[in-house]
Symmetry: C2
Subunit: 317 residues, 2 copies
């Protein structure tokens, strides 16, 4: 099967992206269309099928080479059974998506959660290419994660492996409540939302900072840019985000000892300014044997990580 | 190969235990003899070969069924190459043990570190039997660990996966220095050594405790027994050991989400008194989805975990 092909589906609340990958994890082409979530679950699944057929027309030689279709979705999933129990932006409630899509497409289908799938995409066809053990962080609205060991996505007993954003990392006395209801989660400080929250707190209490002058909605990019320009309040906010990321990696390194940490998502666009701080904390808090040769690098696939990883579910999960 | 057999070797500083396992991880029999470490590396390796031949005589039908010989050793190892770089209690310095033993025995040989191997033994043939994802803690002089996912031992990029004893877990202001030179490692509070240290500190500063009356060398068992009898100082020491164990498991649960945590080693003999405290902390500090169905149980194989896991290296590593 040296020329097998794999289809990946990134199912979002407003659009669906589908992509075709070869066995090496190269993304050959993509197709995108609207989700039309308001039309209900069946309409959404029919759209997926239509876009997949648009990507690779059934009956063609290419279609014959397609081993399966992987789908990445945000929400609570029963991964082995392929059931979408709940999805925050989609009209799904206990929908047997795997079964329905296999009926529609006549190909094997797998589903998995979007953060896992994005991690697998980066590990397989992105910044982890050639490396067997990677841990990925996605620094966006929250902090997502995914663990790939011996080239395989780790799901865990109940699909909670790689939920790195909810590691309790902020010391009790400094902790605030996370959206999940618990205190001191990594994503309270290292997500875009966490960075914006710290900046708004600073502005609200009257700290002397250029962030007070920002017009319109304050973003994580405003804070990072201000930090790079030396605004002391912003510097501390970004350092705090970097510190807890590095500290969490120090723990992860002693559990699974990855060769590479891969950071994606909006906050990771801060680049070397952020990465150099994370690396410094990581090296300081981790035994030397577990830092040796370990790299902390930026994700490469951007918005395509989801389709590539979903396609990879048939080789790597 | 439905009746394949596997030999495991637990290479210790004073004795060498060898054992024969079937594919299910049942330990069929063992043989034990002295290490004779003072005679040098080659004598030790010759002893291993002699004990293996005693266990399964070459030329027999059983010998033909032996797929390979796995060896568990404390120390710094180059696992892929099978080289023992250094071992604290053995006369090994950069010894190509895999190569030498394959020459002596005419069977494939694998080496791995003793904590990983004990974890694999418990996961395969002990308290993790039938469960695909386990994390093991050995609470002895230090705190050892091992991670088994999808039935396979996780080694990590440089063999540091599962080094759970060196997770930084004690908050900065309460942390003391670990034997590894870093501050606040789990094993400073949750190993037998840590428990004894806290007890000695209490006695030395004159805390009112029955531990002050212990004659001879204070042990972790003294502290645990005193705690069970309600000695308040001892109660707090054991609670502290339990708290940080549970807290570390809360992190591990979000990295690899195991179905079962397995606790072995001397301190785990404290039994339900200790386990109930660990479970309470774990459930409090972990998101519900990652605790659902997760068990925290005692190891079952005792001193045989090493030979069983070493034998398992040929199926599970």
């Amino acid at each position: 099967m040296s020329d097998s092909l794999f289809v990946g589906v990134d199912l979002g609340g407003t659009s669906i992206k589908v992509g075709l990958c070869n066995e090496e994890g190269d993304l050959l082409r993509t197709y995108e269309g609207p989700t039309q979530a308001s039309d209900g679950a069946d309409a959404v699944l029919s759209n997926i099928a239509a876009y997949v057929r648009e990507l690779v027309p059934p009956g063609t030689e290419e279609w014959e080479k397609v081993v399966g279709v992987g789908i990445g979705i945000a929400g609570f999933l029963n991964i082995p059974e392929g059931i979408i129990n709940f999805s925050p932006n989609l009209p799904f409630k206990d929908v047997p998506a795997k079964f329905i899509m296999e009926e529609k497409l006549g190909k094997p289908v797998k589903i998995n959660n979007d953060a896992n799938v994005a991690a697998l995409g980066e590990a397989w066809g992105g910044a982890g290419r050639g490396v067997q053990n990677c841990v990925c962080y996605t620094l966006g609205t929250g902090v997502g994660g995914g663990v790939v060991l011996n080239d395989r996505l780790i799901e865990g007993a109940s699909g909670m492996a790689g939920e790195l954003g909810h590691i309790t990392i902020v010391p009790d006395l400094e902790a605030i409540q996370c959206g999940c209801g618990r205190m001191g989660c990594l994503e309270t400080v290292s997500s875009a939302t966490g960075i914006i929250r710290m900046a708004k707190d600073a502005v609200a209490r009257g700290d002397k900072t250029s962030l007070a002058l920002v017009e319109g909605e304050l973003t994580a990019k405003h804070v990072i840019d201000a930090a790079k320009e030396g605004d002391e309040v912003a510097v501390r906010i970004v350092s705090r985000a970097a510190f807890y990321l590095g500290k969490s990696m120090a723990v992860v390194a002693l559990v699974v000892n990855p060769q590479r940490f891969i950071l994606g998502g909006g906050v990771s666009k801060a680049g070397e300014y952020l990465f150099s701080q994370i690396r410094e904390v990581f090296r300081k808090l981790t035994p030397a044997n577990a830092t040796e040769g370990v790299e902390i690098v930026a994700a490469e696939l951007g918005n395509n990580a989801g389709v590539v990883g979903a396609a990879g579910l048939f080789l790597r999960a």
